[in-house]
Symmetry: C2
């Protein structure tokens, strides 16, 4: 590879990467026999699948701009560096849940990793109505393990502080979250779009909703300042790959230190939106009802597993500087440690609901929408699905300290689903 | 100066620093005419006063260990680097409130700065019963200005993130706070000491107090993870120099990004302790009552000024990424911005009380005590003063979300003062 950054193409990839022994070992020694496809359907990067006689690999390369928008919106190549460092940490904290890394080239902003096949992006399944065994459990475990183990409850603090400093440089991608998630949906920002005119009235109402806007900014302050753990940073259902019974988490280039509830909340928000999108994809009225129930069950499973695993790690792996056993268990005060755990879970829960609500808004009102809604061709039907998500999102963000558990949240989602108003 | 670190001495200082033009300009050109005193009475560093025919300067040099303990407790020289970077930022954020910097030498871990004279360390005045004009106001302004202007409410976020990363490396001094402030007082840690046997019963009671220990750990989690602003990090009454009508803040080597309420709380906690120490220094019963009232009035003034100035900066200087005017004032929602401000002040208030309470505990139960208590020779009297501070500290830490304002806190302090039990 040359010493200067240059984007790969289908035609140059085999030649440029053909000398890498790690790739030859996996694909076969003769690069002339490799085939290359470009499959990037995300918003930011080049993604190639390279296959040879022995097997395949994925080559992901950052572009110096936002792919979705073009070179008018530059974006640092260093995001590949953050993704690489996040992936290697997640692999240790949640073994088996992220693709294996074969090679990283910082100058080329390029990561070569495991080719997951026959996996698909979860979002496609949620649109198509496909179930995946163990999805909720894996995602709950992934969240609990990565988020607990990247925090001061678990890590040696000098290491955590050095990781905090390392990821604090991920300014450009953070800026996207800071603006597009927390601000833009709540005023008439340039890049916004929504289903119009059907949603115009509701959108105006939300933008005039003082309690909602204050909640969104408090949540933004938490995202910006509560450096509790290394986040995935973009944990929606487009960052999850699934096959019949395996779940893998990809694309942590938005990694940053932030509040534990951010990843969990973004994830939950995307499941709730997928639920509200179901009537838009039903072949006949009610034909997706059972699948909708499965989505809600999975949502409940994610939180339940997260809570159980987080509690287990709290009891077994609390080796960091916070809530030290020398103050609690070692003094015969096990219940004090449990009291502190309950407080922490309450805080994480409120953040989770808040971030879920905001995520549901920005995906309907902001720049980056979700495919499950966007592919509903009947605009009235689409607006009706989206309106329900918007209303529940508002409820979650503003009442994040009031709602008690995920069963209640999913009951609210079902109630909304039965509502007839647009 | 040589390229390798070497501690200065009274005898070598004039020769080693004699070529610095900045020093010659201030002291006089002939270093042979300079006089040098070593005056460091803190726990960590060498501090020299250098005077010449034209004037004076202070030379502060870090030692590679904790001065209070000796070379068995190594401490990185880099703390001078953090102090320098904190001082230069504070000078911009709160003009006139910190000593002017003349020179910084990173290798020698050495800062040359303004010689404040005839200033004394505030703690000495609080023991001696001396009043200082404008003290409460200056400290309230200093807190509001440095803490608001170092945050995402004011700074350009890329700069804030880069400062966050810079100060995140201040691991060793942070470690002192993390252990000595939040943990050690609450179990039988090696370096602890307290007035014994008089306080033994109360100490045992506090160490068995589950709600208190949980509160202390939640506050520790906030200190470690809520990276809201650049803190002074050690803002007690030994870090403040005063003369009759001028107040200056020194010694920010513990600077780190943390919660706004930490500096304010540590400061308030030290004033409340000074209040409880007064009977120990009274020439006759009641002779310090009026001075005690002045301390409480100053405490109230600090918070009132902080609140007023923070609110003014919120309204005039909210140029950062949080609570942006484009979402509030620009939309005709000025009250939404005020609602968000009230929420933030409530949060800062609860943190302030919590950190004040913990500070009052660690200064009586931990390693680093305060002179106002330590110099009370009658152990029964000392224990009685300390016990009141310990009890109020517990009240503040555990009930930080319940107590309403600083008048109420100071009324509680007066109530405690009148209590007769030891």
């Amino acid at each position: 590879m040359s010493a200067e950054y240059e984007p790969l193409t289908i035609d140059t990839l085999s030649q440029r990467l053909g000398k890498l022994s790690t790739l030859k070992a996996r694909l076969g020694d003769d690069p002339a026999l490799w085939t290359v496809q470009e499959v990037g359907d995300g918003n930011l990067n080049l993604v190639f699948i390279v296959q040879g006689p022995k097997g395949g690999a994925v080559v992901k390369q950052a572009l110096p701009y936002v792919r979705l928008v073009g070179d008018s919106w530059p974006l640092p190549l260093k995001r590949a560096f953050f993704e690489y460092h996040a992936l290697t940490r997640q692999a240790i904290r949640a073994p088996g849940d992220v693709p294996e890394i074969y090679h990283f080239d910082e100058i080329q902003a390029l990561i070569i990793m495991e080719f997951l096949t026959p996996h698909v992006i979860l979002r496609h399944s949620l649109k198509a109505g496909k179930r995946h065994e163990g999805l909720g459990e894996t995602m709950g475990l992934f969240c609990a393990r990565t988020l607990f183990r990247g925090s001061d409850m678990s890590m040696e603090t000098a290491k955590r502080k050095s990781d905090l400093a390392l990821f604090a440089d991920n300014v450009a991608l953070c800026d996207i979250t800071e603006n597009l998630v927390f601000d833009d949906p709540y005023f008439d920002a340039k890049m916004n779009r929504h289903t119009t005119p059907q949603l115009d009235g509701l959108v105006a109402q939300l933008r005039a909703d003082v309690d909602l806007k204050v909640a969104a900014q408090h949540l933004k302050a938490a995202f910006c300042n509560n450096a509790e753990t290394m986040l995935h940073g973009d944990l929606h259902t487009g960052s999850i790959m699934v096959n019949a019974d395996e779940t893998k988490v990809i694309d942590p280039e938005f990694a940053i230190y932030g509040p534990i509830g951010f990843d969990v909340g973004m994830l939950i928000g995307n499941f709730l939106m997928a639920y509200f999108a179901q009537p838009g994809h039903a072949q006949a009225p009610g034909s997706r009802d059972a699948y909708g129930d499965w989505i809600l069950e999975t949502t409940i499973k994610i939180w339940a597993t997260f809570e159980t695993e987080f509690s287990a790690l709290w009891r077994k792996e609390r080796t960091g500087i916070l809530y030290s056993a020398r103050l609690f268990e070692d003094q015969g005060h096990t219940l004090a440690a449990e009291q502190a755990l309950a407080d922490r879970l309450n805080d994480i829960w409120a953040h989770t609901l808040g971030f879920a609500g905001i995520e549901m808004h920005r995906r309907i009102l902001g720049l980056a929408h979700i495919m499950e809604f966007d592919t509903i061709e009947d605009e009235h039907l689409r607006a009706s699905c989206e309106a329900k998500a918007l209303r529940l999102g508002r409820m979650l963000a503003v009442n994040r300290h009031v709602l008690r558990d995920m069963n209640e949240v999913c009951s609210l989602a079902k109630l909304m689903e039965q509502e007839n108003a647009t």
